[in-house]
Amino acid sequence: MKILVCISKTPDTTAKIAFEDNNKKFAADGVQWIINPYDEWYALVRAIELKEADASVSIHLITVGGADAEPILRKALALGGDESFRVHLENGDAFQVAAQIAGFAKAGGYDLVLTGKETIDYNGSSIGGMIAELMDVPFLSHATQLNVSGGKATAVREIEGGEETNEAALPLVVSCQKGMAEQRIPNMKGIMGARTKPLKVVDADTTAALTSIERFELPPAKAGVKLVPADQPEELVRLLHEEARVI
């Protein structure tokens, strides 16, 4: 079985969010970059677990981005994965990114394409569904469990107001979230091995963007907390009722 894991580079969860160039660009100075946590902890680690259970599984990693995304691919390779690919396309919109991955996955004959449920920077939740549509295969979204056997995938996925268990024949696309696997820390052998694993650069196709980000905006600063003395909790209820009018 061939698994393709989609890897996105995102700012660290604790990074300061600021913009430059007239609010058109994320201010990347001094920002630590990480593998998007949903891609890493859930999609990639689950792929590694499937390979640990069945040595015939191969794992390829793909990212769509500039050369500055390569350290993130190496980090992912240190956790696991056999080969990696970077499609050279900077600032692509969701559809362009999905089109690159879908084209690559179709040509490569992958059985399973795994993504995180969303990236923590754009919060689009779009790539997995778009890839599945462009490949014309099923999409199991928001999966919390995934097993594969006999050419068939079984997944537990979150639906509105609960969860359900799905079965479908491969190939398909699964977006992964909490519950799927546990975070792992790469060991020294993995980090050393990642240096020599293949990282190939692939040219992007000419798919056009469907959207463009015009500008960013920061929310207005909070006025600051209004503290109520601990011996007068009734005053808090009054403020919520009469001032904020939320209860």
Binding site: E133, F139, I159, P233
Partner: protein, 320 residues
């Protein structure tokens, strides 16, 4: 025409779908179009209520394969319906159904999509939609470049106004599609207010010291008609079910009021709740980072504070 996808649960329309309907109607008014709705599956009892939210017609596609949500089937049926009805703008509420279906529909129709929208589009120069990004820490204004457009509206983001109107219900024929996915088991959480749609959320953290003290959270939530939530450590040690976990790796919510009891407010927790309109923090540690993100707070022992708060809420709600 603006076409609003309506989600239903147990035979009634979801609150967030009424929000999407009102949002779609406002866009229709802004752009000189009509607003209609589309429903897949059985017709919910309250379908005609959509008229109060500015919807003139409700189209219903009812096929056996639509009783469960298969993104591939839904996208195919919705495209056919959108083409038949000449829909130009398609609106979803940004919930788990939309996150599965809308991207497929976007790719299928080559219609640019903005998910997580929080305001009406700016149509003065292009068609730009404001959306939440960086887990609620910033906004992006995204221009949809294509003629056909898809918007997934965040729950609790759009102030709904209603007026009295009536919507007529019309069956719509679409080609039958066989799902490639089979649903072998469904577990629905019944009787609780869905966390993603709740306008008030009461949440507890490790400060409560144990699951036996959750009465403070559930009693206050009951009085306020609120959903209950919890921090990640609380879900991880199984004091509360995982579906209540809000934060970076759990659910991201944006209620009108978020009350955090005994939660310190680590940045990962804030990422899931910082879009809440009013945040109240009750914590004994004055250095808890949550106070920096809060609107109201009490620095104090929750075991002393909470009984008094609950008593006062009962008093103003007239509950004995």
């Amino acid at each position: 025409m603006v076409l609003v996808f309506i989600d239903q649960n147990e035979g009634t329309i979801k609150k967030s779908s009424f929000e999407a309907a009102a949002y779609g109607a406002a866009i229709a008014q802004q752009t000189g179009k009509t607003a209609e709705a589309i429903l897949l599956g059985d017709t919910p009892a309250d379908a005609d209520q959509l008229g109060n939210y500015g919807i003139s017609k409700v189209h219903v596609v009812n096929q056996a394969s639509l009783k469960t949500m298969d993104a591939q089937v839904y996208a195919q049926v919705l495209q056919e319906a959108a083409d038949t009805l000449h829909a130009e703008i398609i609106i979803f509420s940004n919930n788990t159904t939309a996150k599965a279906v809308a991207p497929r529909l976007s790719a299928r129709m080559k219609a640019g999509m903005v998910s997580g929208a929080i305001a009406l589009p700016d149509t003065t120069n292009g068609f730009t939609v404001k959306k939440s990004v960086f887990s609620g820490k910033a906004f992006a204004h995204v221009n949809i470049l294509t003629d056909k457009k898809i918007i997934a509206l965040n729950p609790n983001a759009f102030a709904v106004t209603t007026s009295s109107g009536s919507a007529s219900v019309h069956p719509l024929e679409c080609s039958a599609v066989q799902p490639a996915v089979s649903v072998t088991q469904v577990n629905k959480v019944v009787g609780e207010i869905p966390l993603s749609e709740a306008s008030v959320v009461v949440s507890g953290g490790r400060g409560l010291k144990g699951p036996e003290n959750w009465g403070f959270v559930t009693e206050l939530a009951g009085l306020l008609g609120a959903a209950t939530a919890c921090s990640r450590p609380v879900a991880d040690i199984h004091w509360r079910p995982h579906h209540e976990h809000v934060g970076q790796t759990g659910l991201a919510i944006a209620p009108n009021l978020y009350i955090a009891i005994g939660i310190s407010g680590a940045i990962q927790h804030l990422a899931g709740v910082n879009r809440s309109k009013t945040i109240v923090v009750i914590n004994k540690d004055p250095e808890a980072p949550f106070f920096k993100a809060a609107d109201y707070g009490i620095v104090g022992d929750l075991f002393e504070v909470m009984p008094k708060i609950i008593a006062e809420v009962k008093r103003i709600k007239g509950v004995a």
